[in-house]
């Protein structure tokens, strides 16, 4: 696809008197892995919520594949091929691992309430197809052997993998990962990095929020930095690492004085 897959133009978000985001512009091109970083409270998660439709922006607009998506509901945006994971894990705890991923496949099925009440051959075939798709996503992240475990029983590392599998099962065009490596140990983190690269190699574009700088620098083609609701830098990892405003935002003014 030519040009920008996702375009965020002049997006702002206020909560009452609090300005969480101010005039943010950014783009994601097809095939990229873009990192969104910034100190706590920079507005990264708010921006993710706006892109995925959980929150409407108070100013500006978001377009995805050329269509305006800001103001639409999350399920409509998901139907266009945008999938996401959540920082505070949102796994369906009382469903099995497989059923979780099957919900991820939801947009690829068509059977409605009445059709499933008296399931025809077509409904059963569709179910089989979705199941294969879900198992494929589970083997992709390497937890197919847990398919029938209740999701609520998984440890954190596997929960994160499950969220990834569920988002992948939707076969998205753009995948948003909200701190997918948070709380993972180094081994799990490197597995996750491998997974994210493999996702991109499948042709899926990735936008990720992450605190683990080593991971961000190693993975991302481009990085966007937010601080206190505003974009302060954008560029290749090497540029960002050298950017003074970024360093200041992360380490505070004192560090500058000490090092000077």
């Amino acid at each position: 696809m030519q040009g920008d897959l996702l375009r965020v133009s002049g997006v702002g978000r206020r909560f009452g008197g609090l300005v969480a985001l101010r005039d943010v512009h950014m783009t994601v091109r097809a095939g990229e892995i873009v990192g969104l970083i910034g100190p706590n409270g920079a507005g990264k998660s708010t921006l993710f919520h706006i892109i995925s439709g959980v929150l409407p922006p108070t100013e500006g607009e978001v377009t995805f594949r050329g269509e305006r998506i800001s103001g639409r509901s999350p399920h409509e945006i998901a139907a266009l091929g945008l999938s996401r994971t959540f920082q505070n894990i949102q796994v369906f705890g009382d469903l099995s691992v497989l059923d979780n991923v099957l919900v991820g496949c939801h947009r690829h099925g068509r059977a409605g309430l009445l059709a499933t009440a008296f399931p025809s051959r077509r409904v059963r075939d569709e179910e089989r197809r979705l199941r294969e798709r879900a198992l494929k996503a589970l083997s992709f992240v390497g937890i197919a052997d847990l398919a029938f475990t209740p999701a609520g029983l998984l440890p954190l590392g596997q929960l994160r993998l499950l969220e990834l599998a569920r988002a992948l099962a939707a076969e998205p065009i753009l995948l948003l990962l909200d701190e997918i490596a948070a709380g993972l140990n180094p081994v799990e983190t490197s597995t996750m990095a491998e997974n994210i690269r493999a996702v991109r190699d499948q042709g899926i574009t990735v936008l990720l929020v992450e605190h683990d700088m080593d991971l961000v620098m190693a993975l991302c083609d481009r990085i966007v930095v937010l601080d206190q609701g505003e974009k302060i830098a954008e560029g290749f990892p090497e540029e960002i690492q050298r950017d003074e405003r970024v360093i200041r935002a992360y380490l505070g003014a004192e560090w500058e004085e000490v090092s000077a």
């Binding site: 995925s52 439709g53 959980v54 509901s73 999350p74 399920h75 998901a78 139907a79 999938s83 996401r84 959540f86 949102q90 796994v91 369906f92 705890g93 009382d94 469903l95 099995s96 497989l98 059923d99 979780n100 099957l102 919900v103 991820g104 939801h106 947009r107 099925g109 059977a111 409605g112 309430l113 499933t116 009440a117 008296f118 399931p119 409904v123 569709e126 179910e127 979705l130 199941r131 198992l135 398919a147 029938f148 569920r166 939707a170």
Partner: protein, 337 residues
């Protein structure tokens, strides 16, 4: 589905064991209640919404067909269809006005609706016959043969109830049921996966109203006359009790709940004949206590709590597939993998 086959056999054979006309009538009522409970179970356990006015839909169904057949001479079968259509329409309007069925608005609104409908049935005497009742409701008939009360009506009601159970088990198993269970667990994640949560809640609410209306119609055509009394708040609470007692998130839970509540009513009735002072008021107190007890000690309800135990006791007992056919799914995939 094997559990359903076994259960159907139990339904078929029951009259050989319990052959007094009283016990047949009770079992027929149980079938009617089961139809309501399956719908309410889907609404409460899967769409995460409570209706405290299910008896009103039940009543609207009963009176719709009763009024249309007695006053306007409509064919009773068309009356049954109307008895399902009118509650569907009411539920639709409710759903549209209650901002996508969030929070406890539906519980409050249906409670008010239940009380209002009860008043309307009582006071609109020109149409409903008011407190003195509506008489001369025709029987349903198949190819010229009237389905008379007693054994034929028992089998008729249970045939429909089994169909409704079959329907419920399937809904829960496939794509929509999964989506509904996911809404219950994390609405925000469900929506991010493309599940139109508002639309599914609405559909399930309408389905529950349709089933209550159908049950009401079956009740109306069972008896010759109709009075407002069975359609009040007490009956709505009875339905909620069935679902909570049996287990909200299980279709079999609704069925078992309906059966136990019926059994308790039989028991109270029997006590009423032996002990003076035991009346149907006692029933209400009893159901209140059961509700409290279940919520405190068995929040998942009987069936989801007991099913794994039953399974462990062995030799694939009757209700082994109780939990939404999960067992079946496991076998299928592992064998195909």
């Amino acid at each position: 589905m094997r559990a359903l086959a076994v259960f159907a056999l139990v339904v078929l054979l029951y009259p050989w064991v319990a052959h007094t006309s009283y016990l047949i009538t009770v079992a027929t009522f149980t079938g009617i209640y089961t139809i309501v409970a399956v719908g309410l179970g889907l609404l409460m356990g899967y769409a995460g919404q409570v209706s405290l006015g299910q008896a009103a839909f039940y009543g609207v169904g009963a009176y719709t067909t009763a009024v249309l057949t007695t006053r306007y001479g409509l064919n009773p079968w068309l009356g049954v269809v109307a008895a399902m259509a009118v509650p569907a329409l009411i539920a639709y309007v409710f759903g549209r006005t209650l901002s996508r069925l969030k929070g406890y608005y539906l519980a409050m609104a249906t409670l008010a609706f239940g009380i209002a409908i009860y008043v309307v049935i009582n006071e609109w005497a020109d149409v409903t016959g008011g407190a003195s009742g509506l008489y001369g409701i025709p029987k349903l008939s198949i190819a010229g043969w009237a389905i008379s009360s007693g054994l034929p009506y028992y089998y008729f009601v249970w045939a429909i109830a089994l169909l409704v159970i079959f329907m419920g088990l399937n809904i829960v198993r496939f794509r929509v049921g999964r989506a509904l269970r996911s809404i219950h667990s994390s609405e925000v994640a469900a929506a991010a996966m493309g599940v139109d949560t508002g639309a599914y809640k609405m559909q399930v609410f309408i389905l529950s109203a349709v089933l209550a209306g159908l049950a009401g119609a079956l009740y109306a055509h069972m008896s010759y006359s109709l009075v407002p009394e069975p359609f009040g708040l007490q009956t709505s609470i009875l339905f909620v009790t069935m679902v909570v007692l049996g287990g909200m998130r299980s279709i079999w839970g609704a069925v078992v709940g309906a059966m136990i509540v019926s059994a308790i009513r039989v028991g109270v009735n029997w006590l009423g004949h032996t002990l003076p002072g035991v009346t149907s008021e006692v029933e209400l107190v009893l159901f209140g206590l059961i509700l409290i007890g279940i919520v405190i000690f068995l929040p998942n309800g009987l069936v989801p709590t007991l099913a794994p135990l039953l399974r462990r006791i062995g030799r694939r007992p009757v209700k082994s597939a109780v939990e939404d056919g999960k067992g079946e799914a496991v076998c299928k995939v592992t064998s195909s993998a």
